[in-house]
Subunit: 340 residues, 2 copies
């Protein structure tokens, strides 16, 4: 496989991106093409003492920043690392694209340059969701690519997420759950009610509606919701975890007794914090477009870059995009007449 890596995207580019690539190729035999400012990337390769042949560099002179308007940036910055990377993937010069850049620009580039898979109404951005059971995390779709969803979109998210978790993460028969305000079939909006029936009609391992309180318990491998709800879930989880860790720290700092307790318990708390460590997983897929794209967190360090590449590889290797294309051919069977 040839991995196309956006060398200029994210807060720590290009240094951590290049370092992560160097660490990744030490463990795989695949090639990585880093796209970006030639001089800067070659310098970082040198800084890491890299002299191998698995990594090559493709020059791109422009940069899409976090402040850029996504549509405008993709249309006008044609020599940016991201646009060049997307065109390479489209033209078959590589098998997968990995970027820590502007999320909006990645979604727009995926739609405009790669295009939607035939039959997919709305491509989605997935995200890792921590599993407080201590097991591997789960996949949430959609994390915010669309703010409004129809029932058919939720069905698409379920199908794409289920396929990804099975083929890329290697989990057999992934459990699919639909986020709702109650577990009963009759609960929710007209959209979730229709989506419930469609997913039920499909071949997927549907565990039904899942409530907010059950999400951290890891009750399903694929968490399906509209992008607005997904965004709120992910950011609230992040905010609550951070607030609770802060409170724990403050609790341990106040009073001698707690300070002693804190010193003793520190190693345990570090372990706890790892449950929320997204670096281990590195990235999450853009789903529903004609090519495997992995979006990394903007603040990714070398470890996260390496993880995103290693864990994302089966997205390309297992031809997951083709499998989703095949899935779409039978999607009409799941949709009953109540859908408009």
């Amino acid at each position: 496989m040839k991995i196309i890596l956006d060398g200029m995207g994210g807060d720590n580019a290009p240094a951590e991106i290049v370092k992560g690539a160097v660490q990744a190729v030490a463990e795989i035999s695949d090639e990585i093409i880093i796209v970006g400012e030639l001089g800067a990337i070659l310098e970082e390769l040198e800084n890491n003492g890299y002299q191998g042949e698995q990594i090559s560099v493709k020059a791109a002179s422009e940069l899409i920043t976090m402040e850029d308007s996504p549509v405008k940036a993709i249309r006008t910055k044609t020599d940016s690392s991201l646009v060049v990377a997307f065109n390479m993937l489209k033209d078959g010069e590589g098998d997968m694209l990995v970027s820590a850049g502007n999320t909006g620009a990645i979604m727009v580039g995926a739609r405009l340059i790669l295009g939607r898979i035939r039959g997919i109404d709305r491509p989605a951005l997935a995200s890792i969701f921590p599993n407080m059971n201590g097991d591997e995390p789960n996949l949430l779709v959609d994390a915010g690519a669309s703010s409004e969803s129809k029932a058919i979109n939720l069905l698409e998210y379920a199908l794409m997420g289920s396929t990804y978790v099975e083929k890329v993460w290697g989990r057999d028969n992934p459990r699919v759950g639909l986020v709702n305000l109650g577990t009963e079939e009759s609960k929710g909006t007209s959209v979730t009610k229709d989506a419930y029936q469609m997913i039920l009609n499909s071949h997927m391992n549907f565990v039904g509606n899942v409530e907010g309180r059950d999400l951290p318990k890891g009750v399903c491998d694929v968490i399906v919701c509209d992008g607005f709800t997904g965004n709120v879930i992910l950011k609230l989880t992040e905010g609550l975890a951070m607030s609770i860790f802060k409170l724990i720290k403050e609790t341990f700092r106040s009073g001698l007794k707690n300070m002693i307790g804190g010193a003793f318990a520190k190693s345990g708390l570090t372990k706890l914090k790892e449950e929320f460590d997204y670096e281990e997983y590195g990235g999450a897929p853009v789903l529903g477009v004609n090519g495997p794209v992995i979006k990394m967190h903007g603040s990714s360090n070398a470890k996260a870059v390496k993880s995103a590449i290693l864990r994302g590889l089966p997205y390309a290797r297992e031809n997951v995009v083709d499998i989703i294309r095949q899935e779409m051919l039978q999607i009409d069977e799941y949709i009953e007449e109540e859908e408009d």
Copy 2:
């Protein structure tokens, strides 16, 4: 004031309900009328050694359970404690209703028996949201009374929540925030975009869009969202907090070093857990109906009942329902032509 207390609602009725009433009247000069099965309530009053005159009992022979269908229960169980209580409030036999019963039945009873305030399209159920800053908690509206909302409903939630927090909790100029997937004005669904403009046009202290990650930091006194999102936020918060406390406990249990740390730190963690202690606040209001109604958590104990009564009293005493009625007279001014 005369408080009408549903003696039979909730998991711990009537024992904890009656006990809470006895504790409440020790601190106020107001009257409480407990509605429910006469013998059982008189027995509990005796168990608590109550012989005063602030508490009286009104007989009601039927019971609405958590399993009852709300609409059917309100229509057919006309001698249930909840229906009798609603009719008493409607007929002026009391000034406020407090219940730990079936949430759906409380909302249906409020709408069918008391009726909506003129101009209110959707009554709402509010909920307490913990403030991880250590300050007092905030109010979230809607907690799930409606699963779908129009922009005008979000404006109503904002107006009612803001009035409640100001008049009942005594906070001047409450900060109102609209839950959204980004802070920029342009973010969100067509519904949140329209609601943003309406709330901005109002006299409220609007702090704009608020993201999931900022909610635990207490960035606003009134958290406005549709009932679907509100339900997910509340249940996810509960689920995450419980999962993290469980992990902390397990962390402390594993290994001698952590066990010692845990023993030392126990008092600190108890303090931390109090941030999530809803008992202190007891209840949250039903908003937008013709009478003050406080809904308590189903598992309320005596302490929660007492808190709900004491903290809820200004809902009746300050004529908050009348103030909301007045607010509704000028709501048209906030709505621009883009609203359909």
